[in-house]
Symmetry: C2
Subunit: 186 residues, 2 copies
């Protein structure tokens, strides 16, 4: 029984709070939704949106910096970094757009199926991003410390791109763990 | 009120199941403990012990194979692999010993504080192991595919060691996620 088809489900003299209205809209218990509303960083919250935008920005910077070096296609790990971080870019941008939509129409995205989809997506992209960052870090350290060959290579750009990839991974982790926690605790 | 000081808390004509006895021993609700008993792979279960032994075995093989190559200390990523996988070895061995103890004395290790300690430990060691595996994979692919320089290097051993490190990481993941799930769902 949704609140749309039966708007008189709330007695007219009682003020309906936003959280309770959200809860009724999703067919859940109002109290439960109010509790969930407090978890900032989840999909459909402003801090969740901020996390997505940070992820997108750092991933984009990482790809851009790596793509400006002329010799990145000669190293497999750097090609993989560009691919993985581009995927992360697309994923974070899509979820940022979804968050903006959810915030604009005040819709709650904390539905178990949607959250499990987000968790799997975040888990996959964060693992790929971390793998790419670690592989690039291995190569960058090899070139700069072990070979001492920074004259012929764009060490600074490689290092910057790798560092941005690590920052992206750090920004994906909270999204992943919050979604996983929500999935496990419901 | 523990079952030791008041053994007559169970009426003598009712058969006490193992799970209920465990629960009472830990001061928890018997029903809750019986449900938790079913989660195989958690600390203090035979499959949890099997996971720990698999982690230990693969980490040990990875370190051993890498250590047999004469030139691994010249590459930072390979030195890091040996360090990270040795740490993983020690951690998995310690928890395997703890699991054996828990199984022998039939003690329940699924106490919230203990499980959060295990979760943090598993999360840290698995991240380090995965980072080491990815960095080594980056270097190995660089040597074998990009430089085509397998004649002068021990490519097969580097690849074997890296593969074992990835297998170790896959074996740590179930332990980590089960503990995290238990922490979130209690």
């Amino acid at each position: 029984m949704s609140s749309r088809s039966h708007p008189a489900v709330y007695p007219l003299d009682i003020e309906v709070t936003e959280g309770a209205a959200d809860g009724a809209e999703n067919g859940g218990l109002p109290d439960d939704r109010v509790r969930m509303k407090d978890v900032q960083g989840m999909p459909g919250t402003t801090s969740g949106l901020a996390l997505r935008l940070i992820q997108f920005a750092f991933a984009a910077v990482s790809v851009a910096v790596m793509a400006t070096t002329s010799d990145f296609p000669s190293v497999t790990a750097f090609r993989y970094l560009v691919a993985a971080l581009s995927l992360q870019c697309l994923w974070s941008l899509s979820l940022a757009i979804l968050d903006i939509y959810a915030l604009l129409v005040k819709r709650c995205l904390r539905n178990p199926r949607v959250v499990s989809f987000f968790t799997i997506g975040d888990g996959t992209t964060s693992t790929l991003t971390f793998a790419a960052a670690c592989a690039s870090a291995g190569i960058t350290v090899l070139i700069s410390n072990d070979f001492n060959n920074c004259r012929e290579n764009h060490c600074t750009r490689f290092q910057t791109s790798t560092a941005m990839a690590f920052v992206t991974w750090f920004a994906v982790l909270p999204s992943f763990f919050l979604n996983f926690w929500f999935m496990a605790s419901r």
